[in-house]
């Protein structure tokens, strides 16, 4: 009979660990060879394979006394299969009452519709209970089954792990395909070797302490994001985490501390898609022998360690970068704040210049030859280093100098001094863009000659928050060697609000043949328009000024340039000579515009002050001249008035004298002898 054959197979329970959804038969292979099952069940049982395809030949008699059906077996079967009972696919909705079978050891209720575990408390010798594929919602009714070793509750509707307190001998617990959200109430199962929680609703793994015998833990197809406590499982060898939600190795970091783990799966997790997945896992879990069901070779391990080192380097590098960026941001904020305060002070004409100076404690930036940014090097451990750096930075730094490839950025007026530094020729040669932010334009003007010398290739100038208010200020840019592009940010530069500012720039700096202003290309028409608007100004400025004024204005400008150079480079006569030659050669500038200069307000006032003395002197000098002239004039007029009278008197006197010829002759001769 078929039944007979089926029954003659040995006990055959295999836990199939494939990921096939439909047929998740729970079978647990108990061979003699398997060391994982150290003879807890007798040999006798092991050899018997218990196929679960058909149920036993049983009779279910419904009793009128209770709502539960009562099970009856023929006495032959009772003797033949005294320790096992299969009620598979019996369309049971409740557990029947089983009388007279108190020595049952294996009970099979697979593929039924049972909703509650009941009526089995009398089967106190039960070792294996199979309730796979039912409708059980709660684990209950098991408190008397102290010998139970195998409990199969897969594919039910269990929401919570509970009521397992007395099952201290439990060896295999299968709860796959349920609705469990939390691992709990299993810490006393110190003999548990296999725990299957696949296809549940677990979001994290913890609370695993106490499972001192656990060798296999199946957590496939959950929603796990992090794993903890696995290092508390001293015997765990196989851990299946496929198809979960693990995205970083940090969330499973406890695995690194588990020395017993040799086989792990992560496939189907976000982490497995990462480029650093394999080598990070291998690097952190040296004890692994198998990953995602594939053996790990020596080659792979070596590669892993190499790659892991590289990762470390990169991370350190990017950490350093972000540290620097943070510092930069803070400094710039600080500079901006200082700038705003300064602007407000100027606007309200407060005179606390002294206070401002003492506020901004100048922190001299150290130059590190290897890096190109002006920060002190951070050498401490990165995490604590970040904190320290940020604290130290808070209010002290008041300016920032940054070189980024071809751009030199200066924030805050203190940064202008950095132009004095010894820039390497290579670095300085690469700079094509110079950007000024939070610095008064008048201060920048003083520094332009230095810029010309130190950064000869700077072709693009950018100004933001520099207080450009007058068209005249653009005149100062004419002294540079060449500008291709000019960017004036509207923020902090009111001059941009003027309708004509671009044309004026083009006009005054026409000798540079600029390509772009504020990002827009300069067209031929723009240049012509500029010339049309201001050409006459240039004409007037050059041809209508008297010669001496031309010379004095031009000479003045050159003298000023020299002054800056002399001040900064007193000890290098070679460079000064070079400058001499440079400015004597007409550097392509339209001479007719050269008289349009810009003197910063303070210099202008200084000059006027100097002139005051001279003016006073001139005034007195002229007054003296006038006095002299008026005196002479008066005398002249007086003479005019008196002259007629005087003339008559002269004539009268002469006539009287000569009236008597003889006495006159005597008188004359007398005079002659007297003379001798």
């Amino acid at each position: 009979m078929d039944c007979q054959d089926a029954v003659n197979c040995g006990l055959h329970l295999v836990i199939q660990t494939s990921s096939l959804p439909e047929k998740n038969k729970v079978e647990f292979k108990l061979n003699k060879d398997t060391s994982s099952f150290p003879g807890r069940l007798s040999q006798h049982d092991l050899e018997r394979n218990y196929s679960s395809r058909q149920g036993d030949h049983i009779n279910l008699v419904s009793s009128s006394l209770s709502s539960f059906p009562i099970l009856q077996r023929s006495s032959e079967e009772k003797i033949l299969y005294s320790d096992r009972l299969s009620l598979e696919r019996q369309k049971l909705t409740v557990c029947p009452i089983i009388n007279g079978e108190d020595h049952l050891r294996l009970l099979n209720f697979q593929h039924n519709f049972i909703t509650r575990i009941q009526n089995i408390s009398n089967l106190q010798k039960l070792i294996s209970l199979d309730l796979y594929d039912n409708q059980i919602e709660e684990i209950s009714g098991l408190s008397t089954l102290r010998c139970l070793r195998v409990l199969l509750l897969g594919k039910n509707r269990i929401k919570k792990i509970s009521n397992l307190e007395n099952l201290k001998s439990l060896d295999v617990l299968d709860l796959h395909g349920n609705q469990i959200t939390k691992i709990e109430n299993i810490n006393h199962l110190c003999e548990l070797r296999v725990l299957n929680l696949a296809r549940n609703f677990l979001s994290h793994v913890d609370n695993l302490n106490g499972l001192d015998s656990l060798t296999e833990l199946n957590l496939r197809h959950n929603q796990i994001t992090f794993v903890r406590d696995v290092d508390n499982l001293p015997c765990l060898q196989h851990l299946f985490l496929s198809f979960n939600n693990i995205s970083s190795f940090d969330s499973v970091s406890c695995l690194a501390d588990s020395s017993s783990l040799s086989d792990i799966t992560f496939d189907g997790n976000p982490i497995a898609q990462e480029s650093w997945y394999k080598h990070t896992v291998l690097q952190n879990m040296m004890q692994l022998r198998q990953l995602d069901m594939k053996r790990i070779t020596e080659e792979e391990r070596r590669m892993a360690s190499v790659l892991a080192k590289k990762e470390e380097e990169k991370k350190r590098e990017s950490h350093k970068q972000s540290l620097l960026k943070e510092k930069k941001r803070l400094t710039i904020n600080n500079v901006a704040r200082q700038w705003d305060l300064q602007q407000q002070r100027v606007a309200s004409i407060a005179t606390d210049e002294d206070r401002k100076d003492s506020d901004s404690a100048q922190d001299p930036c150290q130059i590190d030859g290897s890096t190109l940014s002006a920060f002190p090097e951070e050498t401490g451990p990165l995490d604590s280093g970040l904190n320290n750096a940020l604290q130290g930075l808070s209010v002290v730094d008041t300016y920032l100098v940054e070189v980024d490839g071809d751009t030199l950025s200066l924030y805050g007026s203190g940064a202008l001094e950095s132009l004095d530094r010894n820039w390497s020729v290579q670095t300085a040669g690469m700079i094509t863009t110079v950007s000024f932010t939070f610095i008064e334009f008048d201060e920048i003007v003083h520094v332009l000659p230095k810029l010309k010398i130190k950064f000869p290739n700077s072709l693009h100038l950018k100004f933001k928050e520099t207080n450009l208010v007058m068209l005249q200020q653009f005149n100062a840019l004419a002294q540079l060697r060449r500008i291709d592009q000019l960017t004036i940010d509207p923020q902090g530069n009111p001059v941009v609000n003027f309708t004509l500012w671009k044309y004026y720039v083009l006009f005054r700096l026409s000798h540079f043949s600029m390509q772009k202003i504020n990002g827009t290309e300069v067209t031929q028409n723009d240049m012509i328009m500029a010339e049309r608007l201001f050409g006459i100004l240039a004409h007037v400025a050059s041809s209508e000024l008297p010669q001496y004024r031309l010379i004095s204005i031009l000479g003045d400008a050159r003298k000023k340039q020299f002054r800056y150079l002399l001040e900064s480079k007193g000890k290098k006569p070679g460079i000064i000579n070079e400058e001499n030659n440079d400015s004597k050669r007409p550097v392509g500038e339209n001479t007719n515009r050269a008289t349009l200069n810009y003197t910063t307000r303070e210099f202008y006032n200084e000059k006027l002050e100097e002139i005051k003395e001279k003016k006073k002197f001139c005034k007195t000098y002229i007054e003296d001249l006038v006095k002299e002239a008026t005196e002479i004039n008066m005398k002249n007029e007086a003479l005019q008035k008196l002259w007629p009278q005087m003339f008559i008197e002269l004539v009268r006197d002469a006539v009287i004298e000569i009236r008597n010829k003889n006495s006159y002759m005597k008188l004359c001769l007398q005079q002659i002898t007297d003379q001798k």
Partner: protein, 326 residues
Amino acid sequence: MLSPERLALPDYEYLAQRHVLTYMEDAVCQLLENREDISQYGIARFFTEYFNSVCQGTHILFREFSFVQATPHNRVSFLRAFWRCFRTVGKNGDLLTMKEYHCLLQLLCPDFPLELTQKAARIVLMDDAVDCLMSFSDFLFAFQIQFYYSEFLDSVAAIYEDLLSGKNPNTVIVPTSSSGQHRQRPALGEAGMLEGVEASLFYQCLENLCDRHKYSCPPPALVKEALSNVQRLTFYGFLMALSKHHGINQALGALPDKGDLMHDPAMDEELERLVVRSKLHRTPWQHRAKEPGAFGFQRREKQEALERVSSASVPTPYHYRWEPRE
């Protein structure tokens, strides 16, 4: 030379009235400042050039404000220079804000005070929002009145205030310039609600003022003309009328009539030449070979520039010749 009026005044006052001393002082001061440069080509030549430039009206270019406003002739020259240099801006039709006009003024006179420009703007805008756009001619004529007659206007403002508040104008003493400025701005409410002051009364006070004047003021007859059409007027209305009056403009002699404001054929010719040259200068630059002299343009540029500079002493054609007043 020996006219009776001249002999009527004592010498020093005569010289002062003609501002001869101002120019003499300034000349000597300039000489002192630029000693090294001037000694190269002789003091006589310097004085020639200086007074030539005073005659032509180019002496005020790029000078400090205290000099520019020192004499009426300086003021007229400055107005003229401003007109000539920036006429093209007006011709282009751009409307600019007060600040921008101030910038243009500063191009010619670096320390020109903002107040004056503001006051001029107020005349144009009738004391409304000072950030409005103004046309070149409006601004220029208003600025002329404000700048040339600034002291006079201060006194007028004081008189107006007094009339508004009902005081008897004949007892008003000419205030000092500082208090005049302080009172210059009549409260917005007042000017709006009242219709200013009665024209004839106002004119009488002005006549008295002109009689007592120490500084220049517009010819009273022309002022009367300006006031003839109105019964009442506000302060800014009065100024606006002044600025638009052709006769006063002509009497000043700085600027041409409004209709001719954009015309200056000689300068236009000059401008065309400049534009053409800049066109030529630019295109070869863009395709420029490494050596500069390849197209020969740059060389020509230099020569012409040098020629330009040396022609400073040649007087330029001067269509609207400034007639000496009085």
